[in-house]
């Protein structure tokens, strides 16, 4: 078991308290994702607005229980994400902040790029986006078509289409993945300022997780100066695929934690609105609680593993796989405690069930996690059996 230390327990307590102020926004943000603009002063939103900016770039978050939390470890982020997803996942994903893009910057940017990106994020609450998925295929990143065409000044022109990119229609900054050359090493990521010409993003209407303002993006010959290429200082093999595999490994426990938070929210709703449960109901409820607790352990274990070694992402795949299914199952099971038509009488339960469905897709679908997990097993990278007898080998 991965235990949270006292520091993280203090953080969890504080975020839980802040989360209580966010819960009442749930249905409002679901109806109107732009309503988050009225809530920038909430401590939870402020925390997210800079979460992930390291201390050395001038980040000075307010102390919590005598500690400062920068949000640079996957385990710390998992704690924050579960709590805020439990409070309201819509507000969590609607909030400005460096989140996914910030992780890519942290792993792949050079010092000057970090100063630029973190500097902007610290100056004011702004949205960022992380644009990888394309209309023709999300899971098959190798088939990426968005292109970077070199210009004589050492920069490039960025052209192509992205789809389902969270917050892109209101983001000021983004990390965009694109192909600079054919072949698996030809994919790279660039930093973009969306105010510059050639970037057009429009929101897509989604069934759930509506706070995320999922968008489609068209980039038309957008000039990208040479110094906006992420990982310029890394070797060619580390720049592209390596960088995004690491980025995803580090992000995945966070997504899994969000899914755990959604499941927990559903159970808390049952506890709050069904004060007396029959014997059989109580047994059913407790079994769901056990499932949530078990998956949380896996999520924390996976986060600790990627914190120790960024390439260690197989546990994160397992965590994401389990947590996404957990969120779907528990939100449906929660509705069953309220009798016929529960989701029509309890809009919050309906919202949780709709939001939970997004968890399948974020950071790779269930099948992609299964394939990754299987590769990990095959390659001896996960659950290695130290006493394996030769016959098994």
């Amino acid at each position: 078991m991965t235990h949270l230390d006292d520091r993280l327990l203090i953080l969890r307590g504080q975020i839980r308290e802040w989360g209580a102020q966010v819960r009442p926004l749930a249905l409002e943000i679901d109806r109107d994702p732009e309503a988050v603009r009225h809530h920038f002063a909430l401590p939870a939103v402020r925390h997210l607005a800079t979460m992930g900016v390291p201390e050395e770039y001038g980040h000075e978050p307010e102390k919590i229980g005598g500690h400062r939390f920068y949000g640079v470890s996957a385990l710390e982020r998992a704690v924050v994400m579960e709590e805020l997803a439990c409070a309201d996942v819509g507000t969590l994903v609607a909030s400005p902040g460096p989140l996914l893009a910030g992780v890519a910057v942290g792993l792949c940017a050079d010092d000057r790029q970090k100063r630029w990106f973190y500097g902007r994020v610290l100056a004011e609450p702004l949205w960022t986006c992380f644009a990888l998925t394309e209309p023709e295929g999300g899971s098959d990143a190798a088939a990426m078509r968005t292109s970077l065409t070199s210009t004589p000044d050492g920069g490039a022109l960025l052209s192509g289409e992205k789809r389902y990119v969270g917050n892109a229609c209101r983001a000021q900054l983004g990390v965009v993945f694109a192909r600079a050359r054919p072949g698996p090493l030809g994919i790279t990521a660039v930093l973009v300022d969306t105010a510059e010409p050639g970037f057009d993003a429009r929101p897509l209407d989604m069934i759930g997780l509506r706070g995320a303002r999922i968008s489609s993006v068209v980039m038309d010959r957008m000039p990208i100066p040479e110094d906006r290429f992420l990982g310029r200082h890394l070797t060619a093999t580390r720049r592209g695929v390596w960088a995004f595999v690491q980025t995803f490994n580090v992000l995945r426990p966070g997504v899994a934690a969000i899914a755990v938070g959604i499941a927990r929210a559903a159970l808390e709703y049952v506890a709050e609105h069904r004060s007396t449960l029959s014997g059989a109901e109580r047994e059913r409820y407790e079994e769901l609680v056990r499932r949530v607790d078990a998956t949380r352990h896996l999520v924390h274990h996976a986060a600790a593993a990627v914190d120790a070694r960024g390439t260690d992402g197989h546990l994160a795949s397992a965590a994401k796989l389990r947590a996404a299914r957990l969120a779907e199952d528990v939100t449906l099971a929660a509705a069953a405690f309220f009798g016929p038509g529960a989701r029509l009488s309890h809009p919050f339960l309906d919202k949780l069930a709709r939001d939970a469905r997004a968890m399948e897709f974020l950071e790779g679908t269930g099948n992609m996690q299964r394939l990754n997990l299987f590769q990990g097993l095959l390659g001896g990278k996960v659950d290695r059996d130290r006493r394996r007898v030769p016959a098994d080998a």
Binding site: G138, D140, F337, G341, N367
Partner: protein, 232 residues
């Protein structure tokens, strides 16, 4: 026994066929017009998922067997969704069905409506399967298509087996043949299989103008008309 619905088998077939080929609204309208003309069909908790014309044309509530006057003041419209085939309205009337509703003529329409809803949802699920199939067959991965990936084939086959089993249970069943427990079981199986299918659509199935929205309505349909088991 006198039958309110003159040709139940034909009605069920019409309902299944409309769901599969036209969409939820025409199928819901066929079922409501055939079984409960002029009424707003509600489940035991007083919820309704109906075609917009059924809502607009209703002159009384039908609460899982019992008639009550319409009560617009207490009714909350939860959503009005434009789906292929027409608009569907989701309502909470604020009236639960009375406990004594089983007496008299309430039981037969309930049996027909309940059976019809499972047929209807099966039709929607089969349409979803066709939509998934087409999308995956056109989506390329490497030198192949998504449909040809073994994990995908496995899911499609599991879903198909599920649909075949459900259809085997429904085929030839007359209203009242299947217990409320069995109808709920079939609804649960359809929901689980639909979720498998919607996952196969990728994020495209999470858009409001996708088959994912019909699957969402189908789930709520099952919930709204589920047999009352628990009284919170």
């Amino acid at each position: 026994m006198t039958t309110l619905v003159s040709d139940t088998a034909a009605l069920l077939e019409r309902c299944h066929d409309a769901a599969r080929h036209e969409g939820p609204a025409p199928a819901l309208a066929a079922l409501a017009d055939g079984v409960l003309p002029g009424l707003l069909p509600c489940g035991p908790g007083g919820h309704a998922v109906v075609a917009a014309p059924t809502h607009a044309g209703a002159h009384a509530l039908w609460l899982d067997g019992a008639r009550r006057p319409l009560d617009p003041a207490r009714t909350k419209i939860r959503a009005e969704l434009d789906l292929p085939g027409g608009r569907v309205v989701l309502l909470d009337t604020g009236h639960a069905a009375p406990a004594d509703r089983d007496a008299g003529a309430g039981a037969e329409p309930r049996e027909v409506y309940g059976l019809g809803l499972v047929w209807l949802r099966l039709g929607l699920a089969q349409a979803l399967r066709a939509a998934c199939f087409t999308r995956l067959a056109h989506r390329r991965v490497g030198d192949s298509t998504l449909l040809q990936q073994q994990l995908v084939k496995g899911t499609v086959a599991d879903v198909l087996a599920e649909h075949l089993e459900i259809q085997a249970v429904l085929s030839g069943a007359r209203p009242g043949d299947l217990s409320p427990g069995m109808l709920d079981h079939l609804h649960g199986r359809i929901t689980a299989a639909d979720r498998e299918q919607v996952r196969l659509l990728g994020a495209a199935g999470y858009l409001t103008d996708s088959p994912g929205l019909t699957a969402y309505v189908s789930e709520l349909l099952a919930e709204a008309y589920a047999a009352a088991k628990e009284a919170p």
